[in-house]
Symmetry: C2
Subunit: 136 residues, 2 copies
DNA sequence: CCGAATCCAAATCGATACTG
DNA sequence: CAGTATCGATTTGGATTCGG
């Protein structure tokens, strides 16, 4: 094993520990752009420009950076076609597909529960807590 | 609906659009500390100090900030006992429990696939790409 | 068309010290 | 015990420019 990770988890890794390898994996996943790019990659092969259009507001810099991280970690495969104009396609690996299913569940959850969360935030702003505190 | 979100999703929200409410939910979830704190909260009620010990390396500042965000969004309930010394307990709401299951799957995924990802990163560093490029 | 490179502003985070 | 306050380091992100 990489280093001393708590042994009370199914696979000998414990993301709660900073030195544990799985902790760094979680850090990698904890990114808005990773969610969205992996989500945009879900059906099949995608070109760079497609991704940029699908993930609204992502800059070339962040898109490239995110794709490089995903490639480095074995979640995405990149294929370059030596033609002019350049053509580069991205595709999820098996590992990436596997992850994609989970991340998409989160995305769907976010979409499904957005209203409740919006309401909760509104209440928070209005000072909506402690029962029966009537402010005239 | 909050604003113009693409209508081609099951719930009328589309996290790929920046102005969409669900996009901000995703931003909230895309945090290492949210993963870990929600994970640490999974079985039942937890005191502040317990959480701090469980989530290795979290500072009081980040722990408080994360808990406040989760409370604001209706995922965590906070109960204060007016005693000395102070006692404060945190608990997932139903919504939070629901989310917790998903986030835990991600955490387990990270733990399970940590070895493959470590290997992939190592290969990346070694320049391990393009087939049959023999570097003497 | 697909990026790489650079610069800079801003937000985030961590460490530490302090309080009721 | 359960936070708050402050400060500096680090990271992040966006805008822009350039090249193959």
């Amino acid at each position: 094993m990489d280093s001393e990770c708590a042994p009370d988890t199914p696979f000998g890794y414990d993301a709660f520990r900073r030195e544990c390898m799985s902790h760094t994996v979680l850090e990698m996943l904890a990114s808005k752009w990773v969610y969205l790019v992996v989500g945009a990659l879900k059906p099949g092969r995608r070109r760079y420009g497609e991704l940029q259009r699908k993930v609204e507001g992502i800059t070339p810099k962040m898109l490239t950076q995110t794709l490089r991280i995903l490639e480095r970690d074995g979640l995405v495969r990149r294929e370059i076609f030596p033609v002019i104009p350049p053509r580069v396609e991205y595709e999820l690996t098996d590992l990436g597909c596997n992850l994609s299913d989970l991340l998409n569940q989160i995305r769907v959850w976010a979409e499904r529960h957005a209203p409740e969360i919006r309401d909760s935030r509104a209440q928070s702003l209005a000072g909506g807590d402690e029962p029966a505190e009537f402010r005239a």
